[in-house]
Symmetry: C2
Subunit: 208 residues, 2 copies
DNA sequence: CCAAAAGTGTTCTGACTACACCCATGC
DNA sequence: GCATGGGTGTAGTCAGAACACTTTTGG
């Protein structure tokens, strides 16, 4: 009986908001999918454990990662309280573990089977928080490569909000309010034509 | 070593945002002031423990009470993680415990001596969250009696925000956006003259 | 030639800001 | 009569929403 940490890791994968789940290879809930998590190591902080879990599963460290909520009664008899975190990663930077057992995989949050340990509660809470944070912060910086076109960025917003966005209004907002800036360079491989590339003016979490 | 719960209980007391503190009567940190808190009882939920603590200290139960953040390393050797909550109460409804030992008392958050267990960190975090929640929710319902004048309500907003507010703009906003409604009745004892009384349209936490 | 993505302006509306004076009552 | 608190209107600014077409390139 001790505190456990669970991390909700989001990415956007061809237009779908997706979450990293792990197939349980042991009881309880063997064979079901669950959020990555576990107990704190000796002398480890909560943030430290979350960072470690994220790095283990995706190989990434320098991304948006924030405490979400602390649950009890999540159905795992081993933990009395579960401190949850959520993280946002750019799919292109991740290298998932490829173990056959405890296999991690991305799942669209739209089409989701029931999860182990009431993890749906955690996931719903995280999705809501992500949507509301997207409205007034620059958190999306962590879901995109360092340079990107505004259309890419708009796709990310649409995937999270679940509805289409007006292109011109979107551009005005993010450029006009200084969330992103042009990054001079204008070539991109495989695109339908040359395009302006942008970068976030800040690469840290920021409340606008 | 187990989870503990701490509750930041705010009120507004003659124009000052104030917090309920308890004078510690035993080591560690004997004689210093600390936020009310303690360990979970057997089979108690986190929310349950927070409700119990709030009721113990103030006698109130049906108010705004929400989980805030989970800290570690707060300096109390007894708890590995501390799950904090914050609550908003109407001073008029509270009846503080009057024990001589472990005495509870209201302290303005402006003029505050150092607290036990790094409780300043918790209090700063709670103050910030309160300010930001006040912008886009009706949380103030819990700081006022069920019927009140708009001037009373404005005083509460000013105490929390720490700056004066334009009276006419304030009225337009809260009435126009349907946060409060007139409650017909127009008499009030001890007031300088008859006045319109208002009530919140909803008495539950609500995101606008 | 067709599909896919980049780029671009105007108009309307609703919300927020700033700002100053009168009235009734209790003391 | 004065201090306290209740009550009221206007004009300016800014952000957000709605709205459609052209260009280029790759396949």
């Amino acid at each position: 009986m001790a505190a456990a940490v669970v991390v909700v890791i989001f990415t956007v994968r061809d237009g779908q908001l997706s979450v990293l789940l792990i197939e349980r290879a042991a009881a309880p809930c063997r064979g079901q999918w669950a959020l990555p998590g576990g107990h704190l190591l000796k002398d480890e902080t909560l943030d430290g454990a979350a960072i470690r879990k994220l790095a283990n599963e995706t190989g990434i460290t320098d991304v948006f990662l924030e405490q979400l909520y602390t649950f009890d009664r999540l159905g795992d008899g081993h933990a009395d309280v579960v401190v949850t975190y959520f993280a946002l990663v750019d799919l292109m930077r991740t290298r998932l573990r490829s173990d056959l057992e405890w296999r991690p995989a991305w799942h669209s949050v739209r089409t989701l089977q029931p999860l182990a340990f009431n993890n749906e509660r955690v996931l719903d809470y995280a999705s809501g928080r992500l949507r509301s944070k997207l409205q007034y912060t620059n958190v999306a910086y962590s879901l995109l490569p360092s340079r990107f076109t505004l259309t890419q960025m708009q796709r990310v917003y649409e995937a999270i909000m679940g509805e289409p966005v007006d292109k011109r209004n979107f551009r005005r907002r993010v450029v006009g309010l200084g969330i992103v800036r042009e990054t001079g360079t204008t070539l991109k491989q495989g695109a339908s034509r040359p395009a302006m590339l942008y970068e976030f003016t800040r690469h840290e979490p920021m409340t606008l």
